[in-house]
C-alpha cells in the first residue's frame, strides 16, 4: 500500500518511478485484517477513491469480551457511520492492490512483477539503487515499502532485528457467504458492513484478540496474538489451534455457518507503537508503511493502512522536493520525517505512545473479560433459589474476583 501510494503520487507529479513487486501481481503477498479508515487519507489521493474496489462501508461496530463460556458485546450503530463519504470500508488487498497498481501504471509508473529485491546498491556509502537477482537497477532514491519484515530497511542499517515483544501474528480465513446471508446475519442493508472485535479468553491471557469484517460476499475472520506471549507460555499452544478454537465458538460458528473457506493467510503485525518506529530515512532511501512499523493498536481501533498510504504520499512529496533540488542526501530526505511529524501519522502514533504499555497486561485478556461476562451472567440468571439483589450480586463478583487492584490499573486508561 505504501509503495503503490508513493508510486502513484510520484507518477502524478511527473517523476520517473519503478515499482518492484515480488508476487505474481500487486497484492499477491499482502494481507490485511481488513478495514481502511477513509477520513485521514481521502484528501491525500483525491482522485483515487471514486471507483476503488472496496468491499462494504462499516455501519456497525461491535466489541465483545469473552470468557470461556460466555461473552458480552457492546455495539455502535450510528447515522454518522451511514453518512457519505463513509467513515471506513472493509477491504481485500488481493482485489484492491491489483486495481491500485493499474492506477499507478495509468499515471505513468512502471511496474515489474515476479521480481524480488535482494539487496541495495551502494556508492560512496550512499544507497544508489537495488539488486534483484542478476539485475542491478540504479535509482536516486529507494522507497523501502517491503512490509513488516523489511529486510531492505535492515540491510540499509535503519532498522534493528525484530524483537518478539513488539510483534504479533495475525491468522485469517476468508469465508465465502452469499451477500444476502451476510446482510441477514449481521442486520445490514445493501452495501452496509459490520466490524467486530473480540478480546478475552480466546487468546488465553495472551495479548491479542479476534476480528471479523464483512466483505461483499465473504467475511474475513481472524485472530491476533503476541509472539512474545506465545513464547512465554508454560504449556505451548500451536497458533493455528488458537484460531480454530475461536472459529468454533458458538458466537462465531453461527455467523459463518454454511460458508466456505476460500483462503487461509497469516501476517505479522507491529505492536510496538511509537517507540518501535525505526529511522525513517538515510542517504538515498526512505522507509514507508509496515516496513516503518506504522501500526497503531489502541485497544479499540487497529490501524495501519492509512498510515501506509499517508507515508507513501509523504515519501513521494519529500522525493519530489529532493529531485527539484537535485539533492538525495540524508539531510535532504529528512524532509520526509518533518512531513510525517506534521501529519496525522506520527501525531497519532505519538498520542497513543503509551498504548503498548497499557495493553501489556495479561489481566486485560483474561481476568477483566471473565469478570464482566460472569457478573452479567449471574445477574441475568434465574435459578431455583430466591434471587439476591442485583447490586449485591455484582459487588460480590467484583470484590471477590478483582479486589482493588483494578482501581490502580484504571488510572492507566487516562494515559491513553
Amino acid at each position: 500500500m505504501a509503495g503503490l501510494s508513493a508510486a502513484y503520487a510520484l507518477a502524478k507529479d511527473g517523476v520517473e518511478v519503478l515499482v518492484i513487486e515480488r508476487g505474481d501481481y500487486s497484492g499477491a503477498k499482502n494481507v490485511t485484517g481488513g478495514r481502511l479508515y477513509m477520513n485521514p487519507v481521502r484528501k491525500l489521493l483525491p482522485d483515487l477513491w471514486a471507483e476503488a474496489p472496496l468491499e462494504r462501508f462499516v455501519a456497525q461496530e461491535t466489541i465483545s469480551v469473552m470468557s470461556e463460556t460466555s461473552s458480552v458485546s457492546i455495539g455502535l450503530s450510528s447515522e454518522k457511520l451511514r453518512q457519505e463519504p463513509y467513515h471506513s470500508y472493509t477491504i481485500l488487498r488481493g482485489k484492491f492492490d491489483r486495481w491500485f497498481a493499474d492506477k499507478a501504471a495509468e499515471a505513468g509508473a512502471m511496474l515489474v512483477t515476479k521480481q524480488k529485491v535482494d539487496d541495495l546498491l551502494r556508492e560512496n556509502g550512499k544507497i544508489a539503487g537495488i539488486v534483484s537477482g542478476e539485475d542491478q537497477i540504479q535509482a536516486n532514491v529507494v522507497v523501502a515499502a517491503d512490509g513488516i519484515m523489511s529486510q531492505i530497511a535492515e540491510r540499509a542499517g535503519l532498522k534493528e532485528r525484530h524483537k518478539p515483544k513488539e510483534f504479533a501474528v495475525g491468522i485469517k480465513e476468508v469465508v465465502e457467504l452469499p451477500s444476502q446471508s451476510i446482510e441477514d446475519r449481521f442486520n445490514l442493508t445493501n452495501g452496509e458492513g459490520a466490524a467486530r472485535m473480540y478480546m478475552g479468553s480466546l487468546t488465553k491471557g495472551m495479548f491479542g484478540g479476534g476480528f471479523l469484517y464483512t466483505n461483499k460476499d465473504s467475511v474475513s475472520l481472524g485472530i491476533v496474538v503476541s509472539i512474545a506471549d506465545m513464547m512465554a507460555r508454560n504449556q505451548p499452544i500451536e497458533s493455528p489451534d488458537l484460531f480454530e478454537e475461536f472459529k468454533s465458538r458458538p458466537e462465531i460458528a453461527a455467523l459463518i455457518r454454511g460458508g466456505e473457506t476460500v483462503e487461509y493467510s497469516a501476517h505479522v503485525i507491529g505492536e510496538g507503537g511509537y517507540g518501535a518506529i525505526p529511522q525513517l530515512y538515510g542517504d538515498g532511501i526512505v522507509v514507508a508503511g509496515d516496513a516503518a512499523g506504522l501500526n497503531l493498536n489502541t485497544g479499540l481501533t487497529v490501524r495501519g493502512m492509512e498510515f501506509a498510504i499517508a507515508s507513501g504520499v509523504m515519501a513521494a512529496r519529500a522525493i519530489k522536493r529532493a529531485k527539484d533540488g537535485n539533492d538525495f542526501s540524508k539531510a535532504s530526505l529528512a524532509n520526509y520525517q518533518s512531513l510525517m511529524q506534521e501529519s496525522f501519522v506520527l501525531k497519532d502514533m505519538y498520542t497513543f505512545r503509551n498504548a503498548p504499555g497499557f495493553l501489556d497486561n495479561p489481566r486485560l485478556f483474561n481476568l477483566y473479560p471473565q469478570v464482566v461476562c460472569e457478573t452479567l451472567e449471574k445477574m441475568m440468571f434465574i435459578g431455583e433459589e430466591p434471587k439476591k439483589k442485583l447490586s449485591s450480586t455484582a459487588l460480590a463478583e467484583i470484590r471477590h474476583k478483582l479486589g482493588f487492584s483494578w482501581v490502580k490499573e484504571a488510572r492507566g486508561v487516562f494515559k491513553l
Binding site: K29, M149, T261
Partner: protein, 93 residues
Amino acid sequence: MSKADVKAKLGHDAIKVDSVKHIKVKQEVCARCKERYCIYVCPAGVYKLNKEGQIELDLDGCLECGTCRIACVKEAIDWTYPRGGFGVQFKFG
C-alpha cells in the same frame, strides 16, 4: 489441530513452490534449543521434529509471515522470501 488439518487449510491457497529453499535452519543450534518456539508459533505448521529429533521444514505451505524468524531468538533461522514469482499468491489477502 493436527498438522494435517493445517495442511488441508493451506489447500485453499495458491502456492507456487520454489525449488530453492527460502528458509534454512542451523541444525547445530536447533539441536541445543529446548524451547523450539518455531514449531508452535508458525501458523502454517512449517516446522516439525522428525524421528531423529531434528527440526524439519515443510516449506510448501509457508505463508511468508515471518513469525518464525521473530520467535527464533537464537537466530538459527536463515530467513528470506521465496524468489520473485514463487511462494504464496493471495487472491483475497
